[in-house]
């Protein structure tokens, strides 16, 4: 799944949770509102019922004749209020309680009406009925009215109480519900966020490593399980970029090689120029001086010509060596031993030139596959250059350490001699490039570069004029597949 899909999915999930919580809260608030509305109605009814009971008391205690019609009036008002707000009441208390309330009202109304009719009849039959019977009947009516009133009031109070409790329950329930939904939203949001962030950061780190390695000129493909998300696309893009860079590098190397051939040819022409000139000079001298030369001197001339041709032969042989580099005989070896051996070989030169050597060799370095003689040649070349770049009292520091990317070995040869001017730095590995006139062949670093490349390593140089130069070589660690 693509990262954007994951993020959309996580967002949709969270939005759904938020909507659900919203609906839940809305529903709860609606319920609370209904219940509150009912309690308001119930308060009105209760107040009305209380007034009815007061009128009832006035009627029975003080014989207030206006009390009963007043009660009936209030009853009919309450009835119409109940009918008006039937929906709210039913919603809050249920149909059954509504019916019960209606029935209680009806019972009370009937009791009041019978009390009223009883009172009127009592007045009409005042003469015919004995006083006791009348009293008894009046008491029965009073009791039934009181009972109905009592019931109505109690029922109403009970429902009101019940609903208040309900409202409290709902509010505390919704508080718990809201808290729960907050947790339910937060946990997946954090978890999903964390998960995506960790995955992305992990992959970014890998990509950063790959980009870093590419910037160092290592164009090998990024070995990552290619996921189908955007990071997978980035890794694919990096791989194709790396491939393209590798192709370009090959093209550059090819054109450099061509340029090198040009430099090489010019170098060869120059190198051959001197012995050829010498032979020519010897021939001219021989001809000019022939008569004045003794037999032995003439023979010496020819010996010298032969020596010059030997010189030419040597140059041609070396040239063939460069065009067909010797095959490396690689063996598994610790680099420190080669460094120490090379230093021994230049020890005499170091002593004569009065140069200090600091060795910083790391222990436990991985073994590398190398041709001891060839690598020794490289180290001796670099050490000789460093010695010649310095003055008495200067120092050379030779360091070996694990490779920066964790694998392989790095060797650094640093001097604090006169340094290499910036404009010469890109050419130091070119054939016949030298700043030392005829004393340098200009082939040392060129050959060293070839040897290191044959070892699948790399060599580069940094320098500042007056502060010295630093050559850094990187060798890959040998793998299990490498022989001995």
């Amino acid at each position: 799944m693509k990262i954007s899909h994951k993020i959309i999915f996580a967002n949709v999930f969270n939005v759904l949770l938020i909507i659900l919580t919203g609906i839940f809260s809305y529903h709860l608030l609606d319920l609370v509102l209904t219940k509150l509305r009912f309690t308001e109605i119930a308060d009105d009814l209760n107040k009305s019922f209380l007034e009815m009971r007061l009128s009832e008391k006035n009627y029975f205690l003080y014989g207030d004749g206006a009390a009963l019609p007043d009660i009936l009036q209030k009853l009919s008002e309450s009835k119409s209020l109940i009918e008006e707000t039937k929906d709210d009441i039913v919603k809050a208390t249920g149909e059954e309680n509504f019916q019960q309330l209606n029935e209680s009202l009806e019972a009370y109304r009937e009791a009041i009406e019978s009390a009223q009719s009883g009172g009127e009849a009592g007045e009409a039959l005042d003469e015919s009925q004995p006083q006791e019977a009348e009293n008894a009947k009046a008491k029965a009516v009073e009791a039934s009215v009181r009972e109905a009133g009592q019931k109505l009031r109690e029922f109403s109070s009970r429902i009101t109480r019940l609903e208040r409790t309900n409202v409290n329950d709902i509010i505390s329930g919704s508080r718990t519900g809201l808290l729960t939904s907050l947790v339910v939203i937060l946990i997946p949001a954090i978890a999903v966020g964390q998960l995506i962030a960790r995955r992305m950061l992990g992959s970014f780190k890998e990509i950063e490593k790959a980009a870093h390695s590419i910037s160092e000129g290592n164009f090998s493909k990024v070995e990552l399980k290619v996921s189908s998300d955007e990071l997978g696309s980035v890794i694919k893009a990096i791989n194709s970029m790396s491939e393209e860079l590798s192709n370009r590098e090959e093209i550059i190397i090819q054109s450099k090689k061509l340029a090198s051939i040009g430099i090489l040819t010019a170098g060869v022409a120059h190198e051959l120029g001197n012995p050829l000139n010498n032979i020519s000079m010897l021939a001219q001298g021989y001809r000019e001086l022939y008569d004045s030369l003794s037999r032995e001197e003439r023979l010496n001339f020819m010996v010298e010509v032969e020596e010059e041709t030997e010189r030419i032969k040597e140059i041609v042989k070396n040239l063939l060596d460069f065009s067909k580099p010797k095959e490396a005989h690689l063996i598994k070896m610790g680099i420190n031993a080669v460094i120490e051996k090379s230093l021994k070989l230049v020890q005499n030169m170091i002593c004569i030139c009065n140069i200090e050597v600091h060795l910083c060799l790391s222990d436990g370095l991985p073994l590398v596959m190398l041709d001891v003689h060839q690598i020794q040649e490289v180290f001796i070349n670099l050490l000789t250059n460093a010695i010649q770049a310095g003055s008495p009292g200067d120092a050379i520091t030779v360091t070996s350490r694990p490779g920066e990317d964790g694998g392989g070995v790095e060797v650094e040869i640093r001097d604090n001699g006169r340094g290499i001017p910036a404009e010469h730095l890109p050419h130091v590995f070119d054939p016949f490039f030298t700043t030392r006139g005829t004393s340098g062949t200009g082939l040392g670093l060129f050959v060293s570069y070839g040897i290191i490349k044959n070892h699948h390593g790399s060599i580069d140089v940094t320098s500042e004029v007056g502060k010295g130069a630093c050559f850094t070589m990187r060798f890959p660690a040998c793998t299990e597949g490498d022989r001995n």
Partner: protein, 122 residues
């Protein structure tokens, strides 16, 4: 009979030796040879030379350094440059430094001798 003093500076000893042997056949010329420029320039300070023949590419001070010093210390001395670089660039560079003549390798000693003669006005 005039006696001309000629100096040859070349790190290839055959060059100096052959030039000296051939040119000194003519008793008018005395040739001194040097394998590098530093002692040659000290010698130039001691004695006046009529012609200095120098290789362009040498370790230490090179032909151009020699040319500069000679023209500075002894403007009358002629300078002939010998070089293995038979390229136009070096020739132009050498000419710019007011070199009196220029010989690519391999040098014909007879031509060199004629050149010396010409430069000395004979």
């Amino acid at each position: 009979m005039a006696n001309y003093r000629i100096m040859v500076i070349d790190d290839e000893n055959v060059v100096g030796r052959m030039i000296k042997a051939v040119i000194e056949q003519d008793p008018e010329y005395t040739v001194e040879t040097f394998l590098n420029a530093t002692p040659a320039l000290s010698r130039l300070k001691e004695e006046k030379f009529d012609v200095v023949i120098t290789d362009l590419k040498m370790k230490g001070l090179d032909g151009m350094d020699v040319l500069r010093h000679v023209k500075q210390d002894s403007p009358g001395t002629k300078v002939i440059m010998i070089t293995a670089f038979a390229s136009l660039d070096s020739a132009i560079e050498a000419m710019r430094g007011k070199v009196d003549d220029f010989f690519p390798k391999p040098v014909k000693i007879k031509e060199l001798k004629e050149c010396i003669r010409r430069l000395l006005g004979n």
